[in-house]
Structure formats: structure tokens, C-alpha cells
């Protein structure tokens, strides 16, 4: 009885064994890369909101301070989304008939809240506190990007723990004077390290040995 498979089929068999193994490894790698990808984490993807609110216009062009709307950022872990009332303080006078503001006016009239889409998110086991960061000289744009140039907000950073640790290990590379925290146009000076070290001392920033403790962010 003759051979069913030619001799060179052995090579195919060997190749498929190694290929199969390789495929498994590749799949694992691809999965890992996928979950860390900008696509999965929706980095640099603008998120459409129920109201066509432009940070570019309000903050960038008009110069409205971050804290005019996000009032609790300096006091609470949570930087609040403004109440409809806050929008209406201006928009009962300015652009009061704009079709873009229909949703806002309706919310104010009916009392139903506007349901904004959350753009920046950290996992549930991360207890990020806005107030301590902005009080200690971490600027808004350090984490949120050039928000003053965003007509529609998107996330500019992946918010991986390694990214957080970059600053928690070496805060001097990122700190700015407290009075510049809310300045979206702030540009790091050439002597950032020198200034940063001064600020670390002046603001009493915890040593890296403490800033990198698990319980600082996780509980």
C-alpha cells in the first residue's frame, strides 16, 4: 500500500504544530495590545454630548475659568458637572434663543437633569481625588490635555497606572505653581526640573516612597 501523504507533508505537520503554538501566543499578545489600545480605551475619540458645549469657545476663546462650572474641583474628590442653573446664569442673557441650547432650556424648565456622557473614567478601585492634585500644583491640562482647544471633549491619556506613577515617582517633572493650575495655556518652562524641585519642597509634596504606596490611591 502506497503512502497517503508525501514525504514533504512532515514539514507541514511540523509547521502547523509550531504555527499553532505561535498563533496562541500571538492571540494572547494581540488581546493584550487590544485592551491597551487607544481604540479600546477610546483615546483621542471625541464624545458627542447631548448639548453641543464647546470648551474651546468657553475656556479657550472667552476665558471662562474652569472653576466657574467645575466648582468642587478644589474641595472634593469629584470635579462636578455644572448644574443646568449654572449654564442659565449666562444663557438667560446670552444666546437665549440658540437652538443649541434647547436641551438646556428644557432641562431648566422641566427639572429633568441633562444626561452628560462621562468622558474621563478611572476604574472603581481607584480613588482619585481632584482636590489634592489641583491644590498641590497639578494643572488641569496635565491630565486632561489642551481642553481649551477641544470643541468636543476627548480623552488624551490612557490613564494607565504606569502613567499615574510617572508623576507620583517624579512629581517635580510635572508640577506648576498653584496659581497656574487652571491656566490652560501654561507651558512648561525650560528649567522645569529646577522649578519643580522648588515646588515639591514648597508645597510639602509627599516623598515618592509615600506617593507610590498602594493605599494612596487604592483602598
Amino acid at each position: 500500500m502506497g503512502q497517503i501523504f508525501p514525504r514533504n507533508a512532515n514539514l507541514l505537520a511540523r509547521l502547523s504544530i509550531f504555527g499553532g503554538l505561535l498563533l496562541v501566543v500571538e492571540l494572547i499578545l494581540i488581546t493584550g495590545v487590544f485592551f491597551r489600545s487607544n481604540y479600546f480605551r477610546q483615546i483621542n475619540v471625541a464624545v458627542e454630548q447631548p448639548v453641543a458645549f464647546s470648551h474651546q469657545l468657553h475656556n479657550g476663546v472667552l476665558g471662562v475659568d474652569c472653576r466657574y462650572c467645575h466648582t468642587s474641583v478644589g474641595q472634593s474628590y469629584f470635579a462636578n458637572i455644572p448644574a443646568t442653573e449654572t449654564c442659565m446664569t449666562c444663557h438667560s442673557q446670552i444666546a437665549q434663543y440658540s437652538p443649541n441650547l434647547e436641551v438646556v432650556r428644557e432641562s431648566y424648565a422641566t427639572g429633568a437633569p441633562i444626561e452628560w456622557i462621562k468622558v474621563h473614567n478611572v476604574p472603581d478601585f481607584v480613588y482619585f481625588n481632584h482636590s489634592i492634585h489641583v491644590n498641590k500644583g497639578v494643572g488641569c491640562t496635565t491630565c486632561h490635555g489642551q481642553i481649551n482647544n477641544m470643541p468636543v471633549v476627548w480623552q488624551t491619556q490612557g490613564y494607565f497606572m504606569a502613567w499615574c506613577l510617572d508623576c507620583h515617582r517624579q512629581p517635580e517633572q510635572f508640577l506648576r505653581p498653584r496659581e497656574e493650575v487652571y491656566n490652560a495655556d501654561y507651558v512648561q518652562p525650560a528649567n522645569q526640573l529646577e522649578i519643580g524641585r522648588q515646588l515639591v519642597a514648597e508645597y510639602g509634596i509627599m516623598p515618592a516612597a509615600q506617593l507610590t504606596n498602594c493605599y494612596v490611591c487604592h483602598r
Partner: protein, 1040 residues
């Protein structure tokens, strides 16, 4: 783990262990007997089977499911993370509310009708945690377990959600229409057919409404009933003074206290104040020259009993005889003699009498609510004779809206129903169909009422028998008011809109008065409008902000003792006695559906998820005809040296332990009930205690069918105890689950105790025993291989627990559960040692006396060792030290090896064997603390020193410092209060910075009797203990 070689017999192992160092402290009779089951518990980290999957899913099907879910995970992975939504306010609330920062509101909760002040934390409008109100006289900053657990009751998914008419859904409008029609019909007879049944009322608003109603319907009647009532207290005062008088005690001035079956260190009216004042008087330090002394006469071992210097176990029925004999010994006139005091109580009696005489004016004789009125009258007479009145014993005008003999009132009501004269019965709260004494047959009678209305939180036994059920608004959802034990009134304010359209009692009363849509806030304000001096607005805001209404305490009275008031002694009873006691966790059964309370190890018995018949070992041997002679249980005179006798004793004890769980039939006054027995060393002979509150049929998913209902055998003429009990074995056994042998620290010297005399001479002598014994010097002084970290200049957090103040009330355990989102696991899981409590109360017996052993309690939580044994064995660095020396547990790194728990000498680590946290029930999600991670299956967890509170305080301090231009921040002592510390009614726990010499914790730690648990292991625990100091009467030195 030690393993036994085949040639080594159990006897030989026992002998080895004895030679090692016999246990001075024992957790249970099992330990004393050193049974193989107990040894296994000690030697295995978790009981057998604890680490196996036995939840009905086989390994094979588990793997199949895992495969499927992995595949599905791949599919769902092809999309991006879902986006959450944010719904801000439309109008920002005023008053300094900052989104994300919790607010605290002052309110009050009632138990038995009496208020205790609380502060409730509100996270984004959700009440999530109850704290004590330091300004409230009945709280003094502490709480009891019930107040802590109210949050869970409020969010209970089994709560009633709608109005029911004969079981069918209906509406409030339909109800008020029916009610209105009935009332109109009744107005012809001036309400002769109307009966109102409430629980104890202290609310001024409700009392005023009821009065108004009774004026409108003069023939109607108002009754009050609670199964755990104060009838005897009321009747005793009437007997002694001929009028209604409330009694309260000032333990801060009392040097000698005698409790006649009064468990005043357990939840009840005045608990917070009594526990705090009493323990303040025995919190000794190097400067202390005196310490109070407590004598307790009781049948059932209680928190009060174990705190006592001298405890006398007497049948509940013999306490009256003791009281009469004491009165005679003290020369109190006008007290007829009673039954002779048992011989073994004579010395105790003489000792107490002499001590009371010697400390006249600074003593308290307090009678328990379950003792008959005569005992209360005798206590009043003794207090008067000793000159205590006005100093330690204070009489005030009645605090209740109407003091009542509640059991007779319920009996009167059932008689009237039987006679057909009740046409409309309105029941406000309470659950009489379940908790009425069996002989009244209230549940049957209720069916005869043509129109019955029941307002309650749950569709319970009474609600399901009433024609109308109205959901009650929880106290955290209601406007109301209530008085504390001393009469101080508080406003009850809502934290949240009623979740299920519940109605308050005030709204129901208003509906009965013709206003179907009353505003409860307006009703409460209306009551207080007249009492406000000056601006009502200021009065109201002050009352809400402080949680108390100033100067509203009941006025003190000086009632005159009636002569010849105390009746002659009743005929002596003999034979077996049955004692009914409120359950330490479920109270009268109203908390049966609260999982936190259900799974809380009951003080002393440490039982969970069940009630049992508590019985003394000696009585059990006799009644069950165990083949043991009582003499065999007594430790041999020769001590461990007498090997034969010791071995006999251990065999006898082993046989004895097998009696636990034996189901017996208790036949009592024509009724009978079957209960498993539980051996309770220290229980009075010939007496059996059963706990009320179990065997509910309509409690909800937690409480249904748990334990045995003993209300049916309770009789209205002897509410608390009575003789004529017979016991018969049924031949069956039942698995009772007690945590008494869980998390044992082996026979090491854990609990340190000494006398006040010894303490005064040398405070250190109590704490250093172990070192002297083991090493012949004051400390172990080991060399460490681990480098010591220098924490100078950092916050060195530490905790000290004062064993002298701890009464084992469990408030810390529930507070921790509430603060740290700790799940419950169920009876089966507790049985295999999987309970999740981060802080536990260990109970130890001491000495060789099984009849009345010294009993000690010790709260134990993560010691935050500086040299932590758990850290070095973790393969993934999931438990590591932080900069301030706290042992961090990192859930996301944990892979579940459980090595850390294995290596922990204190046994304080808890593992999520299953998905214990309920992630699906929405109301339970609302109850959680948003500052703490909800743990999933497969991770280890443990006490974090309430790291969320430390973080908050640190962040606030740093913000303040940086705003002021300072580089250093300071956290003032007392800024951080851990959940257990905050809840403790006796302030037995302090937390603070050990590097701050002015902090309370540093001061406590500087005391001579401070000791580190298992300090000889070189763990350098951050939590230390102050040794227990006892102040025994030198004339009564019964045992060590």
C-alpha cells in the same frame, strides 16, 4: 502542620500538650477537653473543606462554564469600554453642599420606644453609615448594634413596597376612603369599636395626635404592647411610690453596683449613658486611686455578668429571695422575708451587703426588667436606705407618653376582640401576631376583627393577617420626634425620601383625624411651635443641628416610698425553670431580616443564625442522663500532675461537648417547643434560657425559618421566666454554628488580667507576666532579621484597646461591617470558618470552674504589625507596608494563595471563597460606602485601620497646610476616628498617631499595663491592649 504518627495515641499527644503549657484560658469546652475536632480547627488554617468548591457546581461543570465565559469575553472584547452617564443637579442645592463630600445629619433611632441620638452620613443623598451623637445623653457618641444596622434595614430589598388590602395591591387613597367610612360609622358610638395598638410611645407628636384622636372618639381605646416591655419596671415604681415614676441611674458617681438580674450593659433604654459612665469609672491609669466594683446576680450569663467582679449564678426565680435577704442584711425596714438564700450564695450576700454599707450614697442597686415588681420595689427601698437617691439614683417624671402594663393591655385587647366589641383595630408598628404570648392567641383573634390596619416596614406575620397593610416609612425616611431615657427629646429627620412610598405613624394618625394628605414635617413642627422660646426658626434649626432639644429632660422628682408596699414573698418554686431573654442580635425578632445582625456572633454563646436552649453543663448532664459524673469535670486537685485524673476529666468533657446540638423538647405550661441545647458555662443550675425573636415565617429572605419561635410557649402571666418546665430528649441532633472555636490563637497567653491592688502596686506586673514566665525578664528582646524602619517624622498610626472598658457588645463589629462593605456569608459558610468580619470579639473562659468561670472578651482586628508575618509570604506582593507603617492589602494584586492568612498569628485575615458581595441588588448597592472597594471572589481582605478615613483626613490637612503656605501638615488627635472606635459605647478603643506624644493613643500606650498581643513573636503590633484590671472584694476572693 503537625501530623500524628500511627504509634502516637491521642492520649500521648494530650500529655505532650499538657507538659508544654496547659491552657489557662479556654474558648470552649471543646478546647478544655482538647477534642480532636478542636485540635483540627487549631491546626488547619481553615476547617476541612473550607477551600473546596462545594456550592453544588462540580469541578467539571465549573471548567465548562469558565470556558464558555472566556469565549464570550472574547466576543464582548471587540468593542470599547461602555460610557457612563452623569446627571448633575438642575439647581445646585444651597447650604455649602459640595458634590462628593458627605454630609452628616443629626437624628434619632428608637429601641423599645426610647431614643438614642445618631449622626447619619449621607453620600450624595444616600444614608450610608450611622454614628453616635456626642451631644445626645443616651448616645454620648457611641451606638449599639441596632443603630449601626438600621442602614441595612432601610435598604432591605424585602421591605414592603405597597398598600395591601387582604393581600392584594391597593392604594393609600383607597385605604383612607375605607378608613374614613369606618370612622364615620364609628362616630355614632363615639368610637366604641375602635382600638389603637402601638408600641411604646415617647414621641410627643404621636402622643398629642393620639390624645386628639381619643378626644374625638372618647369611647375608643389606646393600647401599647411590646414583647420586650418594661411592665415590671412600671409596676415596681407604682408599688414603691404609688405613682408613675421613671428611674435613671448615674453610674459616674457609683463606686459599688449590684445588679439584680439587670443587663444594663446591653442595648436598652439608657445603654449609651450607663455603659459609658460605668466604664469611665473603671478605666484606670497609673494615677488612679479607686475603681468601681460590680456585683451581678443573674441566671443567664450576660455582658453585665462577665464584666462583674463577682457574679452569682442564681435561678431567675431565686433573685427575689436574694433581694429580700439583702434588704434584711442591710436593715431595710418593711421588706417581708422571702425564701432562704441558697447556701452557696450566703458569702456573696454578706460580702455585697458589707460593701454596700461601706459605700453608702455611692452605690446602685439595679433590678432587671424581667424581675417581678416586688424586686424593683425592694431595690427602690434599698437605694433609699443607702442614701443613693438623688445621687446615683434619680427619679423623674415618666418619660413614656403613658406608662402602661403592656402585657395586660394586650390581654385586654384580645378579650375585647373575643367579645366582638372591636370593629376597627389600627396597629402602628409592632408585630403582635408573631410576638404576643402564646396563651393570648392574638393571631387567631386578629382574624375576627372586621377591619384591621397594620402599619409596618415588612409584610410580616401581623400584616399578612390584617385586612389592610400600609408600608411604614423607616426612621431614616421620616419626620418624627422621640424621647431618650432621661426624657430629652430629639427630632427625627429624614435622610432620604421614602423608598417605597412609606407612611409615618403621624400621617396615619392624621388620616384617622381626617387629613389624608398631612405633611409629617408640619405635624412635628406643630408640636414644638408652642415650646420654642423666641424665634421658632432658630429653635428648629438648633434642634436639627444638635440632635437634641435643649432642656427637654424630664423634671426630677422626689417620690415618697409607700409604707407596707412590698408584698409578702410568693411561695417558693422548685424544679426546672424556663427563662425568656431578648436575643442579643434580633431583639424581639424585628431585626430578623437584617443579615449583619443575624450573622453577628451572639455575645458569650458566639452562636450565629440560630437560637438554642442555653443550659449549664451540670444541669445538662443530669437532665440528659449523660454517662459522666459531675465530679469528673472538676479539675484535679493535683493539677496537671495528676495525669490519670486529668485524662478522665478530658474524656468526660469530650463526652459533654457532644451534648451541644441535642434537640430537646421543652414542655412548659401546656405548650411545648423543640430546641437544640447549647452548653453555657456559668448558667444557673436548673434553669434553661431561650432567646426570643426566631422562627419568623414572614420576615424576609434572611429571617424566614431561622431558629425556633418560643413566643407560643410564653405566657402572659409570667412573661420572663417560670417554673413547671420539663425537658425530654428527642434523640435528634441539630447543627448549631458557633464561632467560638474559629480563629484560635492556640493556648498562648493572650488575655492579661490582674487585680486593682496588684495594679496599684506595680502597673507593669499585669502585662509582663508572659515574659517573666518564659524568658525571666521584662521583654523577649529578640534580635530581628528584618530591618526596622524608623517612622520618626511620619504619622505612625496605632490603636489601643482597653480591655477594662470592653463589654463585648459587638457594636464595633457591625460598625466595621457597615463602613467597610463587608458581606455576610450564611450559616453554612460560617460553619466552615468563612465569616468575613474584620474585627471580631473573642470570648475566653478562665479557670477550671465550669459552673461559674471568669469570662473575658477581647476585640481583635488586624494588628498592623510593623514586622508583618503576612507580607513575607505573599508571592505577589499583594500585602505590603506603606510609608506610615500600615499593612496595605491590595485586592487587585491578590491571587488568593491564602499564605498570608496561614502565616498570620492573630488570624485576622478573611478570604472571599465565593462571591459574597451582592452585586445585583440595587438597594444594597445604595447602602454601600462609596469610599471602600467592594471585594470580589478570590481575594483576601482585612482591617485597613479605616484607610479611607485616614486618607480623607490627610488630604484635608494637606490642603489646609498648603493654602496657609506651610510645607508640613498636622492631623490633630481625634480627627481620624475609625469605625470601631466611633461606634464603641464605652470608648474602649482609641486610634491616633503614636509619634504625637500628646495623643490619646500614645498616652494609653505609656500606661504600665499596656501590652502587645503575642509580642514575643517580634511582630511589633501597632494595635496594643490595656490589660484588664479587676477590683474584687477581698472578703470574697472566691477564685484567682
Amino acid at each position: 502542620m503537625t501530623s500524628q504518627s500511627p504509634t502516637l495515641t491521642t492520649e500521648a499527644v494530650r500529655e505532650q500538650l499538657r507538659n508544654a503549657r496547659g491552657p489557662q484560658l479556654w474558648r470552649s469546652i471543646d478546647q478544655l477537653a482538647d477534642t480532636t475536632a478542636f485540635r483540627e480547627l487549631v491546626e488547619r488554617e481553615f476547617p476541612r473543606g473550607a477551600s473546596e468548591l462545594d456550592d453544588g457546581v462540580s469541578r467539571r461543570s465549573f471548567l465548562k462554564l469558565m470556558g464558555a465565559s472566556l469565549a464570550l469575553a472574547g466576543v464582548t472584547g471587540c468593542t470599547y469600554m461602555p460610557r457612563a452617564k452623569l446627571a448633575p443637579f438642575v439647581e445646585q442645592p444651597q447650604g455649602g453642599r459640595v458634590p462628593g463630600i458627605p454630609l452628616f445629619y443629626a437624628s434619632a433611632l428608637t429601641l423599645n420606644g426610647f431614643a438614642s441620638g445618631i449622626l447619619v452620613r449621607s453620600n450624595e443623598g444616600r444614608p450610608t453609615k450611622v454614628e453616635g451623637n456626642p451631644l445626645h445623653p443616651a448616645s454620648r457618641g457611641g451606638t449599639d448594634i441596632f443603630a449601626q444596622a438600621e442602614v441595612l434595614t432601610m435598604y432591605d430589598p424585602d421591605r414592603s413596597t405597597q398598600v395591601l388590602n387582604n393581600g392584594a395591591a391597593s392604594t393609600w387613597d383607597a385605604f383612607t376612603t375605607t378608613l374614613g367610612n369606618s370612622l364615620t360609622a364609628q362616630s355614632v358610638t363615639q368610637g366604641a369599636g375602635i382600638r389603637l395598638l402601638t408600641t411604646t410611645v415617647t414621641s410627643p407628636t404621636l402622643a398629642a395626635q393620639i390624645e386628639q384622636f381619643l378626644q374625638a372618639y372618647p369611647q375608643a381605646n389606646w393600647y401599647q404592647y411590646e414583647p420586650i416591655n418594661r411592665d415590671n419596671v412600671v409596676a415596681g415604681a407604682r408599688l414603691a411610690f404609688g405613682e408613675d415614676v421613671s428611674t435613671r441611674y448615674d453610674f459616674s458617681a457609683a463606686q459599688v453596683v449590684l445588679s439584680l438580674d439587670a443587663d444594663f450593659l446591653a442595648p436598652g433604654p439608657g445603654f449609651g449613658a450607663y455603659a459609658r459612665d460605668f466604664s469611665d469609672n473603671r478605666r484606670v491609669d497609673a494615677a488612679s486611686t479607686a475603681m468601681n466594683r460590680l456585683y451581678v446576680v443573674e441566671a443567664t450569663p450576660s455582658s453585665t455578668g462577665i464584666t462583674a467582679e463577682h457574679r452569682l449564678a442564681l435561678k431567675a426565680g431565686q433573685v427575689e429571695g436574694f433581694a429580700r435577704a439583702l434588704a434584711a442584711a442591710l436593715g431595710v425596714a418593711d421588706v417581708p422575708a422571702g425564701a432562704a438564700v441558697p447556701a452557696n450564695a450566703q458569702a456573696f450576700l454578706q460580702g455585697v451587703a458589707a460593701d454596700l454599707q461601706a459605700n453608702q450614697g455611692n452605690t446602685i442597686v439595679i433590678a432587671g426588667a424581667q424581675q417581678p415588681p416586688a424586686v424593683h420595689a425592694i431595690a427602690h427601698a434599698i437605694n433609699a436606705a443607702l442614701g443613693n437617691v438623688g445621687n446615683t439614683v434619680i427619679y423623674t417624671a415618666p418619660v413614656e407618653a403613658r406608662p402602661a402594663l403592656q402585657t395586660s393591655e394586650l390581654a385586654a385587647l384580645t378579650n375585647e376582640i373575643a367579645a366582638g366589641s372591636v370593629e376597627l383595630l389600627v396597629m402602628i408598628d409592632g408585630n403582635p401576631a408573631y410576638n404576643a404570648p402564646g396563651d393570648l392567641r392574638f393571631a387567631e383573634r386578629l382574624a375576627q376583627v372586621p377591619l384591621s390596619v397594620h402599619l409596618s416596614l415588612f409584610v410580616d406575620e401581623t400584616a399578612s393577617r390584617a385586612t389592610w397593610h400600609i408600608p411604614l416609612a423607616h426612621a431614616l425616611e421620616s419626620w418624627s420626634d422621640a424621647r431618650a431615657f432621661d426624657g430629652t427629646a430629639s427630632i427625627v429627620q429624614p435622610l432620604i425620601e421614602p423608598l417605597y412610598q412609606g407612611k409615618t405613624s403621624h400621617e396615619l394618625l392624621a388620616a384617622m383625624l381626617g387629613d389624608a394628605n398631612a405633611d409629617p414635617l408640619a405635624l412635628v413642627q406643630n408640636t414644638w411651635q408652642a415650646q420654642a422660646n423666641g424665634s421658632f426658626d432658630i429653635f428648629w434649626q438648633t434642634a436639627l443641628a444638635t440632635g437634641v432639644i435643649a432642656d427637654s429632660a424630664a423634671p426630677t422628682l422626689t417620690p415618697a416610698l409607700q409604707t407596707g408596699a412590698i408584698p409578702a414573698a410568693p411561695p417558693e418554686t422548685s424544679g426546672l425553670e424556663l427563662v425568656f431573654r431578648p436575643d442579643a442580635s434580633l431583639w424581639d425578632g424585628q431585626y430578623a431580616n437584617n443579615g449583619w445582625l443575624m450573622e453577628l456572633p451572639r455575645p458569650l454563646s458566639q452562636l450565629v443564625w440560630d437560637n438554642a436552649a442555653l443550659i449549664s453543663p451540670r444541669t445538662a448532664i443530669r437532665l440528659l442522663n449523660l454517662p459522666i459524673s459531675v465530679d469528673q469535670l472538676i479539675a484535679p486537685a493535683g493539677g496537671d500532675a495528676d495525669k490519670a485524673a486529668t485524662a478522665t476529666r478530658e474524656r468526660a468533657l469530650e463526652l459533654l461537648t457532644q451534648a451541644n446540638g441535642t434537640v430537646v423538647q421543652l414542655s412548659y405550661r401546656g405548650g411545648s417547643v423543640e430546641l437544640p441545647i447549647w452548653l453555657m458555662p456559668g448558667h444557673a443550675e436548673d434553669s434553661i434560657t431561650v432567646m426570643l425573636g426566631y422562627g419568623r415565617s414572614n420576615a424576609g429572605r434572611i429571617g424566614d425559618g431561622i431558629g425556633v419561635n418560643v413566643y407560643p410557649v410564653r405566657t402572659s402571666d409570667a412573661l420572663w421566666f417560670g417554673s413547671d418546665l420539663t425537658l425530654a430528649a428527642t434523640g435528634r441532633t441539630y447543627q448549631l454554628v458557633s464561632t467560638q472555636n474559629h480563629w484560635t490563637l492556640e493556648g498562648r497567653d493572650i488575655y492579661r488580667v490582674g487585680t486593682f491592688d496588684r495594679f496599684s502596686a506595680d502597673p507593669k506586673s499585669i502585662s509582663r507576666d508572659i515574659y517573666n514566665e518564659k524568658y525571666g525578664r521584662d521583654s523577649p528582646g529578640y534580635e530581628s532579621l528584618m530591618p526596622r524602619v524608623d517612622y520618626t517624622g511620619r504619622n505612625k498610626w496605632g490603636m489601643t484597646i482597653n480591655l477594662n472598658a470592653c463589654i463585648g457588645c459587638n457594636a464595633c463589629v457591625v460598625a466595621c461591617q457597615s463602613e467597610n462593605n463587608i458581606p455576610i456569608v450564611g450559616k453554612d459558610q460560617v460553619a466552615v470558618g468563612r465569616e468575613m468580619h474584620w474585627i471580631r470579639i473573642d470570648r475566653y473562659f478562665a479557670g477550671s470552674d465550669l459552673d461559674n468561670p471568669d469570662t473575658y472578651v477581647m476585640p481583635l482586628t488586624c494588628m498592623q504589625c510593623e514586622n508583618a508575618p503576612c507580607e513575607v509570604v505573599c508571592p505577589v506582593a499583594a500585602t505590603v507596608h506603606d510609608y506610615e507603617g500600615i499593612n496595605n492589602m491590595v485586592y487587585n494584586r491578590c491571587v488568593g494563595t491564602k499564605y498570608c492568612s496561614n502565616n498570620c498569628p492573630y488570624k485576622v485575615r478573611r478570604f472571599n471563597f465565593f462571591q459574597y458581595s451582592d452585586l445585583n441588588t440595587i438597594t444594597l448597592q445604595l447602602a454601600r460606602n462609596p469610599e471602600v472597594t467592594v471585594r470580589n471572589r478570590g481575594v483576601m481582605e482585612k482591617c485597613t485601620f479605616c484607610i479611607q478615613r485616614i486618607s480623607d483626613a490627610r488630604i484635608e490637612a494637606k490642603k489646609t497646610a498648603v493654602a496657609a503656605g506651610q510645607t508640613d501638615y498636622t492631623i490633630a488627635d481625634g480627627t481620624i476616628v475609625t469605625a470601631c472606635e466611633g461606634a464603641c459605647p464605652t470608648a474602649a478603643i482609641v486610634f491616633g498617631d503614636l509619634n504625637d506624644p500628646a495623643s490619646r493613643v500614645a498616652k494609653w500606650r505609656g500606661e504600665g499595663h499596656n501590652y502587645g498581643l503575642l509580642g514575643e513573636l517580634n511582630t511589633f503590633p501597632r494595635t496594643t491592649y490595656l490589660a484588664r484590671v479587676r477590683n474584687p472584694n477581698p472578703d470574697l476572693e472566691l477564685e484567682g
